[in-house]
């Protein structure tokens, strides 16, 4: 599937197709369950996740619409 517009931002930390995160503390996204990716992104967006790198991710997720979240979760689940 063609990468969604905002994928370039995710790629910076999670790597091409979410396969090679920059740091071990960041998760691989490739092949993850779409529904889980949607619920995680929404949890970050709603400020429901603290700890670890959540501050960074909360900031990122706040810039995503439901459609962005759906498109990105679909894309990464297919990698």
């Amino acid at each position: 599937a063609e990468a969604p517009a905002k994928e370039a931002v995710c790629k910076a930390c999670h790597g091409e197709g979410g396969k090679k995160p920059l740091m071990g503390a960041y998760p691989k996204l490739a092949g993850q369950n779409k529904e889980y990716l949607v619920s995680s992104l929404k949890a970050y967006r709603d400020g429901q996740r603290q700890g670890g790198q959540s501050a960074v991710m909360t900031g990122q997720a706040k810039m995503l619409s439901d459609d962005d979240i759906n498109a990105l979760a679909e894309y990464y689940s297919k990698q």
Copy 2:
């Protein structure tokens, strides 16, 4: 690697080797970055994650010691 003792509990929802979760809302764990798995489990254990299935996971993670978390993260990162 031989599965850690408490892996049977994880397997019930995340599937053999964390490869086939029962529901799309649960994440695949196989091949995930070990450091990320440790930080996620500790975030659940410390009640730092709400939303999604966090209530279930918080309950599970509260039963894990640091050594359990380390062994499980190591195991799943190698699947």
